[in-house]
């Protein structure tokens, strides 16, 4: 392709973009919105997965005693449980030990210190390990039916639930995404169509003097791609700032919830948004020129 021809494309693309100013703005905005929502869902799943990953997979059942239980009663129960069928190992911990562990894990958490100052909100309890994974649900049920037990968490079940949540979220994301993508395509293709309409005389002349279809199409396709890219850029900026803000808020109030770092989020959303933006721009403009550049 000649340099002159590239120059022609760029000039025509620029004319197209500025020619339909408000529509271009509307296109960019919808692209950005659609991609932001895409990023939002992927970031949410990313964080749920992260949370699932942070759960100690080694521990099989984590048991908490009711706060009113005496230490002696707790120790008696732990000794009994050690002899239950299927139980391989039991690791007892006091709420003071649990607190120390939290503190070691999140040494810089101000909110946590505030909370602790008012008293230890945690529970005594123990981690239980079984011989066979299949025994876990029965053991958990038996533990829960014990009066002094506040809660017995089947860790695998928690992970499974988080994974199920991710699936639901992703599916909902797809549905919303498809609708947004369609709306975006509609607006982009109308923007481009407006440009085609504004330049119908030129297009007519170009065809008459023997310009190829592709020479006529390219500026419109490029225009679509530029709209998509600018939208993607805006979405990425919004994701970065938005997520940073969420991170700051989260650090203040629930820092022991393991949020994925901003850099990870940016890395995982940039490529999909750029690809999505370009794809929507290209498809939208192809759609527009297909219908209007016949014959």
């Amino acid at each position: 392709m000649r340099l002159r021809t590239i120059g022609y494309f760029l000039r025509e693309t620029g004319r197209g973009l500025t020619g339909s100013g408000w529509m271009s703005l509307a296109s960019v905005t919808t692209v950005a919105l659609a991609l932001f929502v895409l990023a939002f869902f992927s970031v949410l799943s990313l964080n749920i997965n992260q949370a699932a990953g942070a759960i100690n997979r080694q521990v099989e059942v984590r048991v908490f005693f009711k706060p009113t239980t005496t230490h002696a009663a707790e120790m008696t129960f732990v000794t009994q449980v050690r002899h239950w069928p299927g139980v391989r190992r039991v690791n007892y911990f006091t709420k003071a030990q649990a607190l120390n562990q939290l503190r070691a894990q999140f040494p810089h958490d101000q909110a946590l210190f505030q909370l602790i100052k008012q008293g230890n909100p945690l529970y005594d309890g123990f981690d239980l390990y079984s011989h066979k994974a299949g025994q876990i649900p029965d053991l958990a049920r038996r533990l829960r039916s014990t009066p002094i037990v506040q809660e017995a968490l089947d860790q695998n079940l928690v992970i499974q639930r988080l994974q199920a949540l991710t699936t639901v979220m992703t599916d909902a994301g797809y549905v919303i995404e498809i609708m947004l993508a369609l709306a975006t395509l509609f607006i982009i293709s109308n923007t481009i169509r407006l440009g085609v309409f504004a330049r119908r005389r030129e297009i007519q002349v170009m065809k008459l003097v023997g310009a190829t279809d592709w020479l006529i199409r390219w500026p419109f396709l490029l225009e679509g791609v530029v709209l998509g890219l600018v939208g993607a850029g805006l979405a990425d900026v919004a994701v970065s700032f938005g997520y940073h803000w969420v991170g700051v808020q989260a650090a203040k109030s629930l820092s022991f919830f393991p949020l994925a770092p901003t850099a990870t989020v940016e890395h995982s959303t940039e490529l999909p948004t750029l690809v999505g933006g370009v794809a929507m721009g290209l498809v939208g403009s192809l759609w527009a020129v297909r219908r209007f550049l016949r014959a």
């Binding site: 005389r201 030129e202 002349v205 014959a295």
Partner: protein
């Protein structure tokens, strides 16, 4: 060479605009297409530059068989044909120079070629000193000259003019036809659909007359033959 073999054009609404037309036009000829309004002159012209496709029969333009022309080949055909219209179809926001340049630019001409060719063309049509004017600043005749210059930009072998003088007074029209004659003298085949009785009679060129889509007359040195 242009050749029509039993060409019929039936529009989608069922109207037959060209009916079993057979016609040969050799290189270098100057041909008037005449006939009453609705006779099919414009349709015949549009068949030549593949704006419409014949329903039956075949149209040949040099090596191109137009009913079988692939989409990708249309631009190649169009570069062999210059087309001029009654409503010139100039780009109003571009200058005379840019309008002519546009035709070269969009077929990928080099900057060097364009710098040479555009002034040459404007000179040919007598508008060398108006190259910076916008179409709105030109008279009808001058606008049509720009249209002709643009049609000639890519050195077409054929010039198809559909009522190029339809909007012009007789004097200006004569000027335009003289320009077409000059272009023809330089080698291009010219096909002109017209209602301009005086001009046709005066020029004494080949006249093909259409009526109801049929070719009813084809004379080497013909006359208009209708009351204008």
């Amino acid at each position: 060479m242009i050749r029509l073999e039993k060409v019929t054009k039936r529009y989608p609404n069922g109207h037959v605009a060209v009916d079993q037309a057979t016609l040969t036009i050799h290189r270098g000829e100057f041909v008037f297409l005449v006939g009453p309004s609705g006779a099919g002159k414009s349709t015949l012209a549009r068949l030549l530059y593949h704006d419409e496709v014949a329903t039956t029969g075949e149209v040949y333009v040099d090596q191109f068989r137009l009913r079988r022309l692939r989409r990708r080949q249309v631009p190649h055909l169009r570069r062999q044909l210059g087309v001029v219209f009654q409503d010139v179809k100039l780009l109003n926001e571009r200058t005379v120079y840019q309008n002519v340049q546009f035709a070269l630019e969009v077929v990928g001409a080099s900057t060097h070629d364009m710098r040479q060719r555009v002034p040459e063309l404007l000179d040919l049509v007598g508008l060398a000193n108006r190259h910076r004017s916008l179409p709105a600043q030109l008279s009808g005749g001058e606008q049509q000259r720009v249209g002709i210059a643009r049609a000639l930009a890519n050195r077409p072998k054929y010039l198809i003019a559909d009522e190029p003088t339809g909007n012009l007074d007789p004097e200006t029209a004569r000027g335009i036809v003289q320009l077409l004659a000059e272009i023809n003298r330089r080698g291009a085949t010219v096909i002109m659909a017209t209602h301009a009785k005086d001009i046709v009679n005066q020029m004494q060129r080949r006249v093909v007359a259409l009526e109801g889509g049929r070719i009813v007359r084809d004379e080497a040195r013909g006359v208009y033959g209708y009351e204008a």
